[in-house]
């Protein structure tokens, strides 16, 4: 063995880097293995971080002192709050990132972690204990060396059995110009884990110098002051603008003329692609009646002319791509620097994982990121965080932080993945979170940093920042607990009804005409010199308080069902009253408790009661036997 570490992470993408970093922050010795040191932290697809649902994930990873939000701020050349006109719970912070700056920030953050080692090389095979083939003890590298460890986190993205498609061309690989992990894929395929294939795609990269920008509507960076990580404090990179072009009927005709040469339609790609982020040929095929689709032209870096045309991911042949691009306004003279392509890759059925993303039945093996059937940097980073905490907690003999669907998108995603599996690349949406009124991007620190502190994965600097913020928050809450009458508010010029009565300032926030800053003036008669984001957070808490309170009962009921544990060995086949379909789904997902079983699709109320009765009975029989 060349070296010896506690946790070894394979893959230096968004999942792998978060996993390695959080484990290192928790104090265990970590090795991160990647083909090439230089590609660690690379953004392989669109140069943007955040968005609807995704922005929430970024903030949550950040609340655990993760890398992605700070790297995003270090690289942000364009800020935009999506859904800015809608309720705060569905607003999604999103930035355009300079690829080079992003990667550099990730590498810098990793380098600052003393117990993290980066290993350049190809992980060729997992090594199992000689006396127990269900326990991982290390990894063999392609150069013949080995690294011993007590847990491996697989974060190989699309590199597992990755295959690239562009028109009639075929290439092995996970990303253009990089090889795929074939040997490892063979071993994992042979291990009996349930596997399937998915596909994703990327658009051509354009030469910005050949775009007629004057002809296009531009979208400047917003003029707010928010940042991806509230810890960052302020924006510090020059801001660029994006522009919008649009496909038209000519574009659509060109695409149709090439459909027979598209691997997606020729049947060469069997894997299912994402409905939420379809290729342009998919869009034309499925929404043929639309007269056009928006194409966002996003700059890739401050010092690069590369432009990422968001909305036209494609695997059409290069000549068709060229004609398609040039049919759009502003792009008539445009040059393609790298044509788009589709990639088909192996993923494991995430229902084989538990809630720490450990593979059930194989000790010390974790999977995170695209390998679990998800799409997106944010989804990958979030899973990296969970798997990293999971592996480190297990190594250190600690509990996992108490994440659940009512406190985080992180848990919503993990729960969805391990219970429902995937039929298409999984992307986070706010609609997936039933308690989203309380899961806002703006309150991620308040929700999760206390849990992160318990898990001891927060650095000293952020701990100080958080404690200061908490102290300010408590002072503010004490202020807002005081009662004021409608008359008092009217005297301060607030727009309330005289007969509205007397209530705490916090309760007054339920009235949309009343803002937190108005009330602050009533209460303190001074300005707020603390953290500004705390004011917005309090205002939103107050606005939606009646709805959030109503959900409490629901969450309590679920908590009761979570206490009914469903042991790993339950034989669903032996429970009367379950359909074959239910047995199959329950068997694949192995829900950890009754509340989780209730969420497995197709499980009926009667079935749930039968499962509960059976579980209790089976446990009793076991207890008596033991």
């Amino acid at each position: 063995m060349r070296s010896d570490v506690d946790i070894l992470v394979i893959g230096g993408g968004h999942a792998g880097t978060e996993a390695a970093a959080v484990a290192a922050r928790m104090g265990v010795r970590v090795a991160l293995v990647n083909f090439d040191k230089a590609t660690i932290g690379a953004m392989s697809c669109n140069p943007a971080i955040g968005g609807l649902g995704k922005g929430h994930l970024v903030r949550e990873v950040d609340a655990f002192d993760g890398l992605i939000a700070r790297a995003a701020d270090d690289a942000a050349i364009h800020y935009r709050m999506l859904n800015a006109s809608k309720g705060a719970a569905v607003q999604g912070p999103r930035i355009q990132a300079d690829r080079a700056l992003f990667k550099a920030s990730i590498q810098r953050q990793l380098a600052a972690l003393p117990n993290l080692t980066i290993v350049e090389g190809e992980a060729a095979a997992l090594r199992f204990a000689p006396d127990n083939v269900q326990r991982v003890v290390g990894v063999d590298l392609a150069d013949g060396s080995s690294i011993g460890c007590s847990a491996v986190i697989l974060a190989t993205g699309t590199f597992l059995g990755g295959k690239l498609f562009r028109g009639e061309e075929r290439l092995e690989g996970g990303r253009i110009g990089e090889s795929s992990a074939l040997k490892l894929a063979d071993q994992i395929r042979g291990s009996g884990l349930p596997m399937a294939r998915l596909k994703t795609g990327t658009p051509p990269r354009l030469d910005g110098r050949t775009i007629n920008w004057a002809q296009l509507d531009v979208q400047p960076s917003d003029d707010g002051s928010w940042t991806m990580s509230p810890f960052t404090g302020r924006r510090h990179i020059p801001q660029l603008f994006c522009a919008v072009s649009r496909t038209n009927s000519e574009t659509h005709d060109i695409i149709r003329s090439g459909l027979d040469r598209s691997p997606l339609f020729g049947g060469d790609i069997a894997g299912q692609g994402p409905r939420y982020c379809p290729s342009i040929e998919d869009k034309i095929f499925r929404f043929g009646d639309r007269d056009g689709h928006q194409v966002f032209l996003e700059p890739e870096a401050l010092d690069s002319f590369l432009i990422y045309p968001n909305g036209i991911s494609t695997s059409l042949p290069t000549d068709i791509q060229m004609a398609m691009v040039r049919s759009m306004a502003g792009l008539e003279q445009c040059e393609i620097v790298v044509p788009g392509y589709a990639v088909e890759y192996d993923h494991i059925d995430p229902r084989a994982l538990d809630s720490s993303l450990a593979v059930r039945g194989i000790e010390g093996l974790y999977c995170a990121g695209q390998i679990n059937g998800t799409t997106g940097y944010e989804e990958a980073a979030s899973q990296g965080l969970i798997a990293g905490i999971g592996a480190a907690s297990r190594f250190l003999g600690r509990e996992m932080p108490a994440l659940d669907r009512s406190n985080s998108y992180l848990a919503v995603m993990v729960d969805d993945l391990i219970l429902q599996g995937v039929t298409e690349p999984y992307r986070m949406l706010t609609a997936r979170a039933e308690y989203r009124l309380r899961l806002r991007a703006d309150n991620a620190s308040t929700r999760l940093t206390p849990l992160a502190l318990q898990s001891r994965c927060v650095g000293e600097e952020r701990t100080l920042w958080f404690n200061q913020r908490l102290w300010e928050k408590q002072a503010l809450e004490a202020d807002f607990a005081r009662d004021f009458s409608a008359d008092q508010l009217l005297r301060h010029g607030l727009d309330v009804k005289r007969d509205a009565g007397r209530m705490s300032l916090y309760e007054w926030l339920r009235f949309p005409s009343v803002t937190v800053r108005d009330l602050l003036a009533v209460s303190r008669e001074t300005t707020w010199d603390g953290d500004e984001t705390l004011l917005d957070e309090l205002e939103q808490d107050g606005r939606y308080a009646p709805y959030i309170e109503r959900q409490e009962n629901e969450i309590r009921d679920i908590a009761a069902n979570e206490k009914v544990l469903l042991p790993e060995w339950i034989d669903y086949r032996s429970i009367a009253g379950l359909s074959n379909e239910m047995v199959e789904r329950l068997d694949a997902a192995r829900p950890e408790n009754l509340a989780a079983a209730a969420r497995v699709r197709g499980v009926t109320p009667a079935a749930l009661v039968a499962i509960m009765v059976h579980a209790k009975r089976a446990q009793q029989i076991r207890d008596v036997a033991a």
Partner: protein
């Protein structure tokens, strides 16, 4: 969990009777049958056997039927003993069963509860069964049959699908509208959809409930003292239910008489005559009750002066004592009745049954019970709020609430409480 126990109970009516049916359900049911009858007879075939207790004493000569689970009524191994229906026989067999290890008497509704737990029926079907078992009239039986047959559950599922569609449209506004590739401006479509669904569900909430079928339509006889209310009631129910005399104010309390006419249940209420300024405190209380009864009337038979009755939707003017030449005359819309000569009684009964057909749930359709109406009413409220909310997030939240309520109707939420409430309605042996 006690569901591992084997349970038994007398499933037929109280002895003495010609036959008494004893049911045994659970994993030890067949052992118990073997111990009593000396063998387990062929499945699903009635066979005659001599039952003996553990000491070998003869108990009864009975028909024994065995149904192996899971394809039995309870989903478990099930035995039926058709005994001679004497009290002593039933007592002796019960004692022998109770002495058998792992067997205990069933609690109320426990057989049905097991059927539900073992996936043999869903919650609404179980409620339908409870109603069917307590059905006394033909209309009640048909409505319970519709509930048990799953028609209601199918309707709920259909509404649930409609809410899901509305939710999906709302979520598209929230999650995709900023990406420029989703048809937005669904605003109108969503609020219209909520309103339409709201109206449909409200119609069911406001429709007569299953209680009306069971408890009967309330037909109140009202009018001044001595106007012939009690006499008419007696003629209608064909027995002396109310005390009749010609002293004004004889009926001091409200008398209730349940009657089934034409397969429909009615509850006739005879009231104290309405008159002002009574010195009699007891009679004053009676008059107060009369007012309350008239308030709650589904049909009011008014025997007082024409046009002086309370303002009720289904008021029938009655010209009573039609045989008495001195009786009070009314207009042509009034039903002329004589209790003595039975003149007009058939016409009055026809009027009652015609009105009842409007007021009762139509035959062969399910009618909702209080639990179902309460949940549906919550759904109606949530949909109204979803339709009027100006914040998409709140619309989505109300739609989610309505989905939860519809889930609760089929028993997804609050499972334990609901089961206890539901199965508490059954008697032992069902």
């Amino acid at each position: 969990m006690r569901a591992t126990d084997t349970i038994f109970a007398l499933s037929s009516g109280a002895p003495p009777a010609a036959i008494a049916v004893m049911r045994i359900s659970g994993s030890n049911a067949f052992c118990a049958a073997e111990a009593l009858a000396g063998r387990v007879p062929e499945s699903r075939r009635a066979s005659l056997a001599l039952l003996r207790d553990a000491a070998g004493m003869e108990l009864d000569r009975a028909l024994v039927l065995v149904f192996p689970g899971p394809n039995s009524a309870t989903g478990e191994d099930l035995v039926e003993l058709h005994l001679h229906g004497g009290r002593a026989v039933v007592r002796a067999v019960s004692a022998a069963l109770a002495a058998f290890p792992g067997l205990r008497p069933a609690e109320a509704g426990e057989f049905t509860r097991r059927a539900f737990l073992n996936g043999r029926m869903d919650l609404n079907e179980a409620e339908g069964l409870a109603d069917l078992l307590s059905a006394e009239t033909e209309w009640q039986r048909r409505a319970a049959g519709a509930m048990m047959g799953g028609a209601f559950s199918r309707r709920i599922e259909q509404w649930r699908q409609e809410v899901l569609v509305l939710s999906a449209l709302t979520e598209a506004e929230l999650d995709f509208s900023d990406e420029g590739d989703v048809e937005t401006q669904n605003n109108h479509k969503i609020s219209e959809g909520c309103k339409k669904l709201h109206d449909a569900i409200r119609t069911l909430v406001e429709a007569p409930g299953v209680e009306k079928l069971r408890d009967g339509l309330r037909v109140v006889l009202g009018g001044p003292p001595n106007s012939g209310k009690s006499t008419l009631l007696n003629a209608l129910v064909a027995r002396d239910a109310a005390i009749v005399s010609d002293i004004a104010g004889t009926t001091r309390d409200v008398i209730e008489v349940p009657v089934s006419i034409g397969g429909m249940a009615f509850l006739f209420l005879d009231t104290a005559g309405l008159r002002d300024a009574s010195d009699d405190r007891i009679e004053a209380i009676g008059i107060e009750r009369t007012r309350a009864a008239m308030e709650s009337a589904d049909i009011l038979l008014w025997l007082g002066e024409e046009g002086t009755g309370p303002d009720r939707p289904h008021l029938v003017e009655i010209e009573a004592k039609a045989d008495d030449p001195a009786h009070q005359r009314k207009g042509s819309r009034a039903v002329k009745v004589s209790a003595k000569t039975e003149e007009g009684l058939a016409e009055l009964v026809a009027t009652l049954t015609d009105t009842a057909k409007e007021l009762l749930p139509p035959p062969d359709q399910y009618a909702t019970n209080a639990r179902q109406r309460d949940l549906l009413a919550q759904c109606v409220t949530a949909l109204a709020q979803a339709a009027s909310a100006e914040d998409w997030l709140i619309t989505a939240e109300h739609l989610r609430q309505s989905r939860l309520v519809l889930d609760a109707l089929t028993g997804r939420a609050h499972t334990e409480d609901l089961l206890d409430t539901l199965f508490g309605r059954f008697c032992v042996g069902k």
